[in-house]
Symmetry: C2
């Protein structure tokens, strides 16, 4: 039941719309307002609270943006489902993306199937800006030089997060923060010296190979089998370090089973080699039990754990982290301990509070539901394609689509002609042969309500359907 | 004359204290309130405007922090001098630093004479936070991947700033933004390849040498004469690139004269070599004509201009920039054009507005006055030391102090024992012999009101004065 006794204070340093937003959000969090309850109309709220229309509009805008309420056309605002513990399977019925349309046919815009796009429509920007303001106001000392490894409160928050969610064994003193995973990987490469040989997954992440080669490092491409990097080929490679994406391999989407993890850990322990565990896409799982990190299984201190907020939060948040085993930490401190961190101290502190105060966990639940919903819609729609098979879709925000009807080139050519440029698996293969007729589809940048049209357009391109596009999701409903 | 008709709107999205702050700041900028005018007391303002005490306090706090008003003890708030065009020679009479005291004797805290400290007491944090909030609220698209070189509006603002203030010839397309000068220098080193030999100033900046050596690059230490890097020694070094700090050499404080600049530019042009012009400390000049950049004198595209906001604004603002000559720009794009910028897009946009809307220019004027004042006080106080000479004090926020009475070690030992750890020149000398008995003193972290005590303490340490400390500035007043 909505209460109008909200104790708003027009004299406060906090703007009125933020007070109103905070009061309603608090009532929802505390269960005073329940899922499905209708909120007062804007007009009613203005009249009853004696506040301006712009105050109410701004507050409702925030509540919508942060997922507390949802808007039903021609009806009003309703309390959204508010999860406090586990991920619910129920898809959100709120609008999922900023308005927008698929690019017109034939125009080479960024594809809605881009593998690097991320849905940021639900990013809690009001909370982020609020935290930033509070950090700036309350901490003038943050303008001075900070710690090279990163701000202590952020390293503490990250260590807690990683212990709790990923089973990483670490203390805050092992965490190193940097402006993106490339920056941090570059530091690791420096620590390992110019002679170290690197094993990389093939197919794999092209930016990693570019970085290693730019630094003049020797790279060995190690083939993958169904469980991940081939241990015998790895053994033969003579590498001193292997870069792995065990949670959701890019691009194959493999989640490395525990047996393969322990096999690769043995390789590292036996030869005093290193594993760089890039815990790419571990934040989003749609089925099966999440497997904890390799770092958490390691008993010999051979794993460097690496993570980033670029995909779980937003590409523009330039904040990634490493967890270093103690001996490597010492080397890091000798080499980089006198440099400044590459990340703004302000944004580091904002992120610390974002983690500590539960914003991040709430956001991951919201965006996780969004992706789960979108993935189901897209996989079902694509399953209608004759002979199609999908793999690697248990987690993350991309998967493989194999369509034996045409070769990869023809699939790509037809999709691009239909205004939907895609990427083929062969683009990511260095020395191994790609699976034939296989594409890598990302869905982070594809608004869920546009899935039917996008899928129908691909279907028309590949199956030669002419006439009006069929809307697959509508048919199924 | 202060007007109480301020049109404050309690219903606005802008908090009341910000409205009040903006109204008063606007009146000062527009000349409706003049230097020296007394503002109403807080109590009076509360009563007349019908706003809360906390609103008035917050507004006055901002006005103080941003230098619009000054507080006189037991008297009230007065309009500060507001400069709209040139730098005034009149020292500000406002309090200059956050409260604080010199560290107790014998405790090895950061020295008030640290060469890396910067005075951030006047940082316009309210404006910075306000801009950040506006950027976040108005630009949801900034969460997606940004341009590798940096945000276009920031590159435009930087190009304008550098053309106007430093005579740099460039367009925004030549600007590359990164998280600190080390990050960007590291990129340059990569572009120049593993075989390039680097000439560095000796004495010079130690972090540069560490970076080059960490990357396995060949380093040649080139001695300095009174005009800067010795051109003949540079010629003999066989270097392909020279890293220079011509505006205010670190640590010698030399401002390189135009004749030496053109001699070194000839060296670069003749051999198709590179000059990296680190325009360190160019923001603060206390006498003599500022010399425009070497980049602006260069007719052969051999200079890479490099700058940072770490010293002019705050060490925590991780934002530096390069201006690349077009052929190098192409190489940069091939090598790094697919990476993401290392700087938060939000903070890039904030900085763009900070530059465009005049905040930066106003801040530089305020902090420039502060440093000018402090430098005069410190240099006069140190001149009382028998046989002392100061050099390199025409710009920046450090200088050399030579005191032939003792050797460097003894000077350092006695200062440290007095609780004022200092750095000796020899620490920065690689292959050249340091000037004897010479120290490098920074004053960015030394509050002006503490200059007399700090100078007196040094004097006591070096001249063996016992008894009560003499307060030199007080004597002179």
């Amino acid at each position: 039941m909505f209460s109008y006794s909200l104790n708003l204070d027009p004299q406060s340093r906090v703007p009125m719309y933020e007070q109103l937003y905070a009061a309603v959000a608090g009532a929802i969090r505390e269960g005073a307002l329940h899922h499905g309850e209708k909120l007062p109309s804007k007009r009613e709220l203005c009249a009853r609270l004696g506040v301006s229309r712009s105050t109410v509009e701004a507050a409702y805008e925030l509540l919508l943006a942060e997922g507390y309420v949802e808007s039903r056309p021609r009806s009003g605002y309703y309390v959204a489902e508010y999860e406090t513990t586990a991920i619910s399977e129920a898809p959100s019925s709120a609008p999922v993306c900023a308005p927008g349309h698929l690019p017109p046919r034939g125009k080479a815009l960024d594809s809605p199937f881009s593998t690097s796009a991320v849905d940021v429509s639900r990013f809690p920007y009001a909370s982020w800006a609020k935290l930033y303001r509070e950090v700036v106001y309350n901490s003038p000392e943050l303008l001075q030089r900070g710690e090279a490894q990163g701000e202590a409160p952020l390293r503490e928050a990250l260590a807690r997060l990683l212990r709790e969610y990923r089973g990483v064994q670490c203390g805050p003193e092992q965490v190193v923060v940097g402006a993106g995973l490339e920056t941090l990987t570059d530091q690791l490469i420096t620590l390992f010296g110019p002679e170290a040989v690197y094993a990389v997954e093939d197919p794999g992440y092209p930016a990693l190979v570019r970085l290693l080669q730019a630094r003049g490092r020797a790279v060995r491409f190690v083939p993958m089998d169904a469980a991940g990097m081939d241990p015998e080929a790895l053994e033969r490679s003579g590498a001193a370090a292997a870069y792995l994406t065990p949670s959701h391999q890019f691009p194959l989407g493999i989640t490395m089973p525990a047996s393969r993890r322990s096999r690769l850990l043995r390789w590292a322990a036996e030869g005093e080699r290193w594993i760089i565990e890039d815990d790419y896409d571990s934040e989003f799982r749609y089925g099966g039990r999440p497997i904890s990190s390799m770092q958490g299984m390691d008993r010999h201190g051979r794993v460097i754990y690496a993570g980033t907020f670029s995909r779980s939060l937003a590409p523009a948040i330039r904040l990634a982290y490493l967890v270093l085993p103690p001996p490597l930490l010492e080397r890091w401190q000798r080499q980089f301990g006198r440099q400044q961190s590459t990340v703004s101290r302000y944004e580091q502190r904002v992120m610390a509070r974002f983690l500590d105060e539960g914003y991040y966990a709430r956001y991951l639940r919201r965006v996780g539901k969004l992706y789960a919903d979108r993935r189901s819609a897209l996989v079902s729609a694509l399953a209608e394609l004759e002979g199609a098979s999908v793999s690697g879709a248990d987690g993350g925000i991309h998967f493989l689509l194999t369509l034996p009807r045409y070769g990869e080139d023809e699939l790509l050519r037809r999709a691009a002609a239909a205004g939907l440029p895609l990427r083929g698996l062969s683009e990511f293969c260095h020395e191994t042969a790609p699976l034939p007729s296989t594409l890598v589809l990302g869905y982070g940048g594809l608004p869920t309500e546009q899935v039917p049209e996008a899928a129908a357009r691909l279907r028309a391109a590949w199956e030669g359907t002419s006439g009006p596009l069929r809307c697959i999701a509508a048919e199924k409903a």
